[in-house]
Homo-oligomer: 216 residues x 2
């Protein structure tokens, strides 16, 4: 039995590096690669794989959005998030989305192998640094479920738009990209701004960067 994985990371070198590491294991095989979130989702639509290894910061469609869609396409699809940062917001969102694997890029390469085997068996695998403060948060908030709070909650679609806006696309381009009417894109944008109490594009971008919705 071979575990089939899909790699999604915008950096080809990282992707091929990971692929090289993984291919040293007999029981794991990379069956496809994606260089952005949208490609990863498209792969999920067309073919089946056991594990999707998804980088969190990707253009067009970020890793968390992509993961969410991938798991919706087939609830049996499993996702492992690859991330540079031990950002609480990311981890919270990932866990509340039902993602069971979260590996930091500065951890050892064999962690990803461990993560693949664990998640394949439907177990959790978090990099040690992360699990430490997940447990800490659990203790601190005694029973309050992670991801329950959210002061400001953008919808999935709104986050998607915000990312594109922050990546420098105009409203027209965003609309084209998402196959929606310009008016719809504007409506979403307006809702985002209202929810966040923001009145300028500049602040939208800064917000998106601060929240890790996109990166520089």
């Amino acid at each position: 039995m071979v575990i089939e994985v899909v790699l999604a990371d915008d950096h080809a070198i990282v992707r091929q590096g990971l692929s090289a590491v993984i291919s040293q294991e007999q029981d794991i095989k990379v069956i496809a690669e994606a260089s952005n979130g949208k490609e990863a989702v498209d792969i999920a639509k067309k073919s089946s794989a056991d594990i999707f290894i998804v980088d969190i910061t990707m253009p067009i469609l970020n890793g968390l959005e992509a993961s969410s869609q991938i798991m919706q396409i087939n609830p049996r699809n499993k996702v492992i998030i690859l991330s540079m940062h031990d950002n609480r917001a990311f981890i919270e969102r990932a866990l509340s989305l039902g993602i069971k694997g979260y590996v930091l890029k500065d951890s050892a390469a064999d962690e990803i192998i461990q993560a693949i085997r664990a998640v394949y068996k439907d177990e959790y695998f978090l990099s040690p640094r992360i699990s430490t403060f997940v447990i800490q948060d659990y203790i601190d908030s005694k029973g309050q479920k992670i991801g329950e709070k959210k002061i400001v909650s953008l919808t999935e679609r709104e986050r998607e738009l915000l990312q594109l806006i922050a990546e420098g696309y105009t409203n027209k381009e965003v609309a084209t990209h998402l196959n929606i009417c310009l008016k719809t894109a504007l409506a979403h944008r307006n809702n985002i701004m209202q929810k966040l109490g923001i009145h300028r594009q500049a602040d939208l971008i800064r917000y998106a960067l601060k929240e890790g919705i996109t990166t520089i």
Copy 2:
């Protein structure tokens, strides 16, 4: 004859991935790894290697500083920069430091292999996307040697404006802030955009953040 390389990158997974890719080549061998700039310099002090592959963004001591020191320790040490961004300022600095290899992380993995072989023979190797605009700049500045002058040089005033723009001020507010006419602010803004080849506010903000002119 085996080319000995040292890998310096703060992400272990990237490092091991690269290592896996490189080890498929018979004539190249990874003899040491470093997880920050200081470690790379320490390795350069103790042992000799042909090529140092250095990630530009590393904690403690960044890639460019580290490279500078590595080449000072032994002028025969050669450096290849690994970078996520095709950032002009970084490339400019790298080239003016005498670095001959500059590879983007989103390029194919075999580019790093090509880069190693080229730089080992004392040739230049830049990722295509970079060499494109290095050559363009060369043509634009007709014969002026690269690294002699700033490729993009904003004036003090322009930087001042750019910071305010990136901090979310409108042109009107910028003008008020600097006690100049709106028209003047617009003129400066236009000059900045022309110099940088940028056409959108969003990109202006992203540029300022990337260059550290302002922070999130």
